[in-house]
Symmetry: C2
Subunit: 325 residues, 2 copies
């Protein structure tokens, strides 16, 4: 069974590939586990890879000729994670439209030409929501994105649903919560603080949090995100019906709750590395994001959230080889 991952050099995409290599199988169209014979990653850069089943293609999905080179005719599973992130698509409208919208269309058209309609999981986002939102969203809340990135994700969802209705693919779109804890360093993304408030102090680095500690976060751990991608792919088409978009379960915590949990687990010295220096520009963006979503449909389909922020922090420390305090 051949697998294709766009954004396969990114944090989630590469972790998904490593998980697939480790488990060795993936649910096939008949619902039975099939050996993963080859994983092709498409991205602009990659970590060093060393597995005979792993194949990397360097390129931009929306550039002419790239998808023809990258996508094998008998690909059965596609994970579409490639995107210009929120801040990037906001700073450069044309770049976001080209990569996030045109790139998705290029991929869907290439999938349509495959010998057999592949299953496709599309990484959408809670950035589908924005603006004046109810305190708790649910499966019926209409997407009202307030960023170019969010608009491009919602349009991608509609295309994935339509290509599925047409029988060109068997698609599924997942609206991911904010992923916490992301590795790396703080970046320009408005959501960067959500991981940094935990990751930076634990790594012994000071961090200035740009939002007040009352700020709410709707979050999912990297491990649960990978679980969700694999579960979304494994579910039969009948479990989805016509409606191919799903709000994933997450947990709702405030910055204060996350910091207190870190102090409990890693000690007060770590927590003391945080300062709060609110940035009105970032706070204004973050305040439009949903902080709580009721997700009965996803739960009925077997998707689950993390059990709590403590588990999320402990997972991260274990993966990074950090000792509890």
């Amino acid at each position: 069974m051949k697998v294709f991952i766009t954004g396969g050099g990114g944090f989630l995409g590469y972790r998904l590939a490593r998980t697939l290599l480790a488990q060795g199988t993936l649910s096939g169209p008949d619902g039975k586990p099939a050996p993963v014979s080859r994983i092709t990653l498409l991205d602009t850069a990659f970590p060093a890879a060393a597995d005979p089943r792993l194949h990397t293609v360097t390129g931009d999905l929306s550039a002419p000729g790239v998808i023809e080179t990258a996508l094998d005719a008998d690909t059965a599973a596609v994970f579409h994670l490639a995107a210009v992130v929120s801040a990037g698509a906001e700073a450069d409208f044309d770049l976001g439209m080209r990569v996030n919208l045109d790139g998705t269309r290029v991929l869907l058209e290439a999938c349509r030409r495959l010998a057999r309609p592949p299953r496709l999981v599309f990484a959408s986002s809670v950035a589908a929501f924005g603006g004046a939102l109810p305190a708790t969203l649910d499966d019926a809340t209409t997407p009202t994105p307030q960023t170019s990135y969010g608009v491009q994700k919602v349009i991608g969802e509609y295309l994935v649903t339509e290509y599925s209705r047409r029988g060109f693919i068997d698609g599924r779109s997942l609206r991911l919560p904010t992923i916490v804890v992301r590795p790396g360093r703080p970046n320009l993304a408005a959501s960067s603080f959500a991981s940094a408030i935990i990751r930076e102090p634990l790594a012994g680095r000071d961090y200035e949090c740009p939002v007040p500690d009352t700020t709410g976060i709707w979050l999912l751990s990297p491990r649960k995100a990978i679980d969700a991608f694999l579960h979304a792919l494994a579910l039969p088409a009948a479990a989805w019906g016509h409606h191919r978009v799903l709000n994933l379960p997450g947990i709702s915590v405030t910055v204060r709750e996350a910091v207190d949990a870190m102090a409990r687990i890693a000690g007060a010295r770590a927590a003391a590395r945080l300062k709060f220096v609110p940035d009105p520009r970032i706070t204004a963006i973050v305040d439009t994001w949903p902080t709580r979503i009721e997700t009965p449909r996803a739960r009925a389909m077997g998707f689950t959230a993390d059990t709590g922020i403590d588990t999320v922090i402990r997972d991260h420390m274990r993966e990074e080889g950090l000792a509890e305090g």
Copy 2:
């Protein structure tokens, strides 16, 4: 003041142009009526035109070079009505994507390049809704289109909202009910029956209605649709805020109620020209359409529906020069 109408050779587009020529002015950016100096119509065919202010461009919006020729740099008002209709977009997926999605993007990009962001009214449709719907929809109902045409319209709405948020245009999308009574002859559109059950008998022609007489229709007259286009353009941006999509008010009637009204107004002889020969394929499509929408937002903004099916029928008869029976 220069006006641009895509689909300007079509029934609604050309009627809109004639209305603008007759009234001679259109609400300008400052809210005051400004003289209409020129109306450019873009379409693949036109009725005979004879007004020095009227300029026609024959071409396909999505074809290279067409928009550059057609759109004057100082255009202040754009009405985007051009589309491959529902049945056409369903029969030819690529054609619908090219004209309805790519064509809309070409237009929006051209508007973005104008000296000053134009006001733009986009003709969307209740085809945005579909599938298992509640008996009554409202302003919060999430679009779940079940046709390629509906998907393309919803994507167009999101683009119009996003281009407006970016300040590239000042856009407004109107979800039109089924327009009744359309002139002409029955065609392959699944909604064709809604006009034909009134128009054909009144014109002395027999008609076989392909849906049962219990079928509900959410409808708006051509006159009210033109009123809505002009009102949508005249409203200041502040009246819309971020949310640029509106379900237009309509009236909900069954086929039986429409036929009974026609018999009251035009006589039983006209009504006797109707036969009911249900076509399961058409009935299946029509049954997924909404038949009643609560529209408090549109009403608060000053949009109105027809007063009843009798008015709609009498309007049509007057326009066609038909005597009441």
